[in-house]
Subunit: 352 residues, 4 copies
Amino acid sequence: MATKAKIGVLGASGYTGSELVRLLLRHPRAEIALLTADRRAGQEMRSVFPQFSPFDLPTLVSIDNVDWQGAGLDLIFCALPHATTQKVIKQVFAAKPDAKVVDLSADFRLHDVAAYAKWYGHEHHAPELQKEAVYGLVEIHRRDIRTARLIANPGCYTSGAQLPLTPLLKAKAIETGEIVIDAKSGMTGAGRSAKENMLFSEVSEGFHAYGVGHHRHMAELDQEFSLAAGKEVIVTFTPHLVPMNRGILSTIYVRGRRGKTPEDLHAILAKFYEKAAFVHVLPFGETPQTRHVRGSNMTFIGVAKDRVPGRAIVISALDNLVKGASGQAIQNMNLVLGYPETMGLEQVALFP
Amino acid sequence: MATKAKIGVLGASGYTGSELVRLLLRHPRAEIALLTADRRAGQEMRSVFPQFSPFDLPTLVSIDNVDWQGAGLDLIFCALPHATTQKVIKQVFAAKPDAKVVDLSADFRLHDVAAYAKWYGHEHHAPELQKEAVYGLVEIHRRDIRTARLIANPGCYTSGAQLPLTPLLKAKAIETGEIVIDAKSGMTGAGRSAKENMLFSEVSEGFHAYGVGHHRHMAELDQEFSLAAGKEVIVTFTPHLVPMNRGILSTIYVRGRRGKTPEDLHAILAKFYEKAAFVHVLPFGETPQTRHVRGSNMTFIGVAKDRVPGRAIVISALDNLVKGASGQAIQNMNLVLGYPETMGLEQVALFP
Amino acid sequence: MATKAKIGVLGASGYTGSELVRLLLRHPRAEIALLTADRRAGQEMRSVFPQFSPFDLPTLVSIDNVDWQGAGLDLIFCALPHATTQKVIKQVFAAKPDAKVVDLSADFRLHDVAAYAKWYGHEHHAPELQKEAVYGLVEIHRRDIRTARLIANPGCYTSGAQLPLTPLLKAKAIETGEIVIDAKSGMTGAGRSAKENMLFSEVSEGFHAYGVGHHRHMAELDQEFSLAAGKEVIVTFTPHLVPMNRGILSTIYVRGRRGKTPEDLHAILAKFYEKAAFVHVLPFGETPQTRHVRGSNMTFIGVAKDRVPGRAIVISALDNLVKGASGQAIQNMNLVLGYPETMGLEQVALFP
Amino acid sequence: MATKAKIGVLGASGYTGSELVRLLLRHPRAEIALLTADRRAGQEMRSVFPQFSPFDLPTLVSIDNVDWQGAGLDLIFCALPHATTQKVIKQVFAAKPDAKVVDLSADFRLHDVAAYAKWYGHEHHAPELQKEAVYGLVEIHRRDIRTARLIANPGCYTSGAQLPLTPLLKAKAIETGEIVIDAKSGMTGAGRSAKENMLFSEVSEGFHAYGVGHHRHMAELDQEFSLAAGKEVIVTFTPHLVPMNRGILSTIYVRGRRGKTPEDLHAILAKFYEKAAFVHVLPFGETPQTRHVRGSNMTFIGVAKDRVPGRAIVISALDNLVKGASGQAIQNMNLVLGYPETMGLEQVALFP
């Protein structure tokens, strides 16, 4: 029997934390060795997430009480809030320089120190690590991830936009000045903090946009799209909230460049993802639904022809907690630990 | 006490029919004198819509059994399916040439006989009436409506797009070649017919686009936008389904023309709707939510600046069954019968 | 034109507060003269509830700044949290002994000082007022309400249980020792405070009971049921949460006494509510749905035969924010101010 | 590598069919060899359930075209509608007497020919098989199942009632004359057929009971409860529909017999299920939520004390498509094929 890697999950009382636990419990080469949750320290996981009641899991502890060297962790998932994350990861590497960390926050996604300061309004607390971190969208940066010590797991919205757009930008197949991304997310994307505007009664039976014209995820898109296109790309991006738990659908409006038809764009994507385990390009003209990827690590992509000549509509669907967060993080873990990329991530979507 | 007009509702077993009944029951100058529902003929309205159980309403009858002259109806709402409508309205006017009809179907919205044949795949059954019909978006065509005999009530998607865009097109304030309308609708927009893809289990906890690149509502948009702009306008339009009952949110991406800023666009809309009872333009930068107009005849419009220079994001929200259908229809009725435009339509939105 | 009463709403930033505003805005004899919301003082109502954006409403003020004598209010609705309420109402009557108050909290529902202390764990802050207060379930206590100065508006769960059970208990038609009330409520019943367990993601796509075996509403049931039966009655009551905004369905299991059949029980209820404007007894064997009373002040009651001989299943449905709270409160206001009982409460249910 | 059993799924276009496919795709010892769907014969599974788009699955065929001998199936799941099932299974056994069949319909759950005829209004088409069939609630009938040829998978409602009640009845710990089961189910329990009353707009934002006083599942409860108690037991049972996809919560009201306290009842259940992999008894006083078992084969059971002396409230939660149908069916398959009972059923619940 193969040995199991000892895994720590920092921030286990949030939704990305619980999703990591859900997936790790069935990963054949992972053992959950540490769970932290500062405000719930001393409690059992079952009191925070009753679905784990039948399982044996470590008692929740406070991060301050962790001995990073002594814990003997093979890999650490960090699912902590913005800003806290920087400080904690700095401490982890100070105590254990050979640690492996997959960070699910936004803290290490921007490589540029100045861009970080501009979008977040303060200097980064760990600029050296910021530069070192590898951006963890496996389908795009697979090679760099394998040898990284610190991986910045991408955002859910940005994953939904990058998976269809990056191959098109790399192929210089679309105009970069007319990209419109109209994104719609389920509520778990907003996390588990108790805020009035996230109450059931505020959210159900309605639909709205938010952060219109300005949203922090744009910085991540700018970085990755400009890298892919080899020149500065600035897109229009509007996030919306859907009264559902899981899923992001991104409706993306593009114009083909130099005569590229919608069929050409489809062919580029189909070829790029031919061997990808977790990105599935639908037949031309079919478009995806979030419900058909729910609970799975899959992204479905569809391409359709617009009636306006030269324009195409590209739509992606993923589960924001899986491919948009914790599934993606385990995919990164598999690369870092030398496991098969799909290990523990084969669940079929739960529909209906 | 003022006399009450005798009103008929054809197709009372569908959602726009029941919404007409809901509103007419509280209209001070309307009396529901006739309700038809072919498959439910002979039944009481309470067996089709139990919410009406406490009210006295006429028994449902078959259209074939109506004596159009003898019924003495002052106005007829027609909430029948596509195609059936043309035949029925032709018969109504044949029997009673001075009838007043507000039709909620798509059958009389296109003035152009050729455009109708192209989008619907067959010749119109009442081309004379098609030409005569007045397009019933009150805020745009108020004057013509007052004297019309046959009013084509606009579609719900198209109302959500026209109310914000028509004033901008009339003012020649936006580029006509780059308009993208990303629309999201609640499920009642799809009607009450029993189809697998409209089942609760198929629709809840998910989100998707449909009719991507081709949707019949586009013909209506083409007609009205080209009329407003004084030249041919073809827009990109994608409808989506939201797991909620009521509401349409339209996120509209435009580029200002000849230096027009997002603030300028906002000012044009604010001025245009200054005295409109049912269109409310939010302060610049605020954007609407469907839940805040639910059950009311209101449309909320917001304008925000995009970070891409020169571009604006315009968002409208309305209740597809009220301002997008039955409320709009009663607004038309009020004009035709000489009542105050807001009569019976003053309900405040139901939130939460 | 009839004069309008000047109305104050204390606690306008919660759901029962906004529901009062929704209904009062269309009440022909009411003028909203005062809105308080301590944490939102100085803000406009539209920033707390955007659906009111098109309406002129008083700016929100702090209760501490209200001059109860000078304000000239004809009636005050108190929609404040438990315990705060007692202190505020005491102050109101101290400053203005002839004030009229309809209180929507639980603070004045129990007449017995000892029962209050037992269920709430502390002495009442205004025991004299506690004794004076009239329990405001109009259909049961109509006469006392007309002349009251302080009315304790009933709870939403208890209204749903009392309307069907009180007439049966008064008629001594059911066994008092075997009553089981299985109640299911929408989320607005839990109010608008930001709590983790009320987040959309915690509540949607699931169902659960809470407060099993012990719930404060039981005290109110004990008082009213014992009063109706003329002897002590203790019922089994279990509340559940439904992933919907509005509505309470109470499934009530009873056994007929001295040979009373389910049909007999139905006849008793039908007779009792024969002239009631807001309680509608369905034909025998039909049972109600919450969606058919949504947004209206109606309660629907159904009675069916159980297959266990002698037992009946009685089901009631009401909108917890209307008949279960703010509509009931306005019904009380109408009695106190001498208006017709149904004034401003005639809205038809919003379905779908 | 262990060999895989060849599995057929009859009726793969419904929800229990797709759920079988979801689970079988990840079962290490199962190979999906046959999928039937009469109205969709000739189509790929991905066109009926797009979530399977990335997977290789057999093309859907018509049952009439299956060669039962030649197909070489090791086990057949039958997920067909009532009545059709009897005829098909009769044919299967006629062609291949040593077939193994797990039937998910209600057709073979009643052992008594007369009871069947009474509840279903006609004679059974395969009375010999009806007598032979073993009732497949594994936790109760494990021994008989291992050697059975035809297993009648229990209903979802009845599983939710039997798992908590059967051990209490066997222990003679509760009064049999006062059992009230108030059950609430998600919409997938009603299947995938296109009916008006199952449309999203009819079901969302509301709650109701149905089949009040009479429901076919009662026959199954009568049979199993009477068997467990050793005497005739007739319970009160009311099903309700919750606007959610998956899950059944059963709130069960019982009275302890001969001094048995709620704590005693809890102890009996905890002991009975001590080693059960798929039934988890919560600590005394805690009650379950359906969301915490969603997508898993788990049943959670809670027991709480009622305030009425001697009475307890027992609540169970399961996923109607998994433990209430397809997961239970695979648990039966595992027994029949000699696999470990939990194989392929270890998924952790998907929450949120």
